[in-house]
Symmetry: C2
Subunit: 213 residues, 2 copies
């Protein structure tokens, strides 16, 4: 296990260098099945017109998500893990090798729907975001702490379901803050569009810092 | 990996024999984080008064779920996997060894919240149920096929959120049927209580078939 993680970390470090060499901002999204990762990507692709976005889609099976991404207007690279419960850095590298990196501003990587396994495998992205959604309940940070501790951002999705779900927003953000005080936080709804502008703004700012550095 | 699975299968077979020797009906629940597994157990414990129920709670971290189960009125045995993404048969055996099996009618096992990894590890229960919930979307069987193919039952939870979520119920059950035509199907809501009576009735019937066999 230590060897597997060591090999993965080395590959992740190479990915990170390759992204830096091409001024690509990369963000890895992890979260439960059905928390809305693909819907977030669709919204960002539709709204964030200033940057060229490419997407890597990680799934156990099907190419459904890649088709949704292409329909939203970005080039998508599907990885089927064949049963494996997370992406790893070499898989991401193989997708990057097929991609026009020099012509990419923002690379969004959707991990396999899973709040446990992806947390252990760095992919080389500058940021990892964990996505959690209102109907999953406000206790998820406490119950899946590694995902929240190792993420540089948290997206709380499906805000529109707040009136229909028992969810203590303050408790959720408190738990997040305890696990990772420096993570940037977004509360959004892909149904109403709430919070998407702020998320797009943040991505644009991070990209411009990258290119001006 | 083949060895790990082989060892686990042997331990699962022993668990199954031990359950049969004591006329215990065991059901293993798997599903995404936040799909409502613990809420289903609470509802069943509160409503199913004819059987003595004990619960094994699998979590990556915290004993929150075991506390909820005890509050609902059943004895709970917490397993913290320490980061591992699924229960396995030896973990379940250690919990069973602490339990009054002869005084147990129904053993409910809540797996770690994860729609991928638990599918590969038999625990010895006579039935595995996969739990999916309305806000997760109707495509989950297709995207996580092994979980649905290896389950003898499907519970579709959070029916009360149908008016607020895009969800094609017919499509969902069609996909389930393609993957596992023999699985028993329940549509429920732990908020309204819809479908819980039917689930309890089915559990009672399975238990009485076990004891009359």
């Amino acid at each position: 296990m230590t060897n597997i993680l060591g090999d993965n970390d080395a590959a992740a470090q190479q990915n990170r260098q390759l992204l830096a060499d091409h001024n690509v901002l990369a963000v890895d999204l992890m979260g439960s099945p059905g928390c809305g990762k693909t819907s977030i990507l669709e919204r960002v692709i539709q709204q964030l017109k200033g940057l060229t976005i490419r997407v890597i889609e990680g799934d156990v099976a099907t190419a459904n998500d890649a088709e949704r991404i292409e329909a939203a207007g970005a080039e998508a690279f599907q990885i089927n893990t064949g049963g494996m419960c997370h992406l790893n850095a070499p898989m991401v590298r193989r997708a990057m090798d097929k991609m026009d990196l020099a012509g990419t501003d923002l690379l969004l990587i959707e991990n396999v729907g899973n709040l446990v396994c992806p947390a252990a495998f760095k992919l080389g992205a500058q940021y990892r975001f964990v996505v959690s959604s209102i109907p999953e309940g406000d206790d998820k940070p406490e119950k899946y702490p590694v995902a929240f501790r190792t993420s540089q951002g948290v997206i709380l999705n499906k805000l529109d379901l707040i009136p229909h779900s028992p969810f203590d927003t303050e408790k959720f953000w408190d738990l997040c803050g305890q696990l990772q005080p420096h993570a940037v936080q977004f509360a959004i709804s892909c149904t109403t569009g709430a919070g998407i502008t702020e998320l797009c703004q943040w991505l644009t700012e991070q990209h411009s810092q990258l290119t001006s550095a």
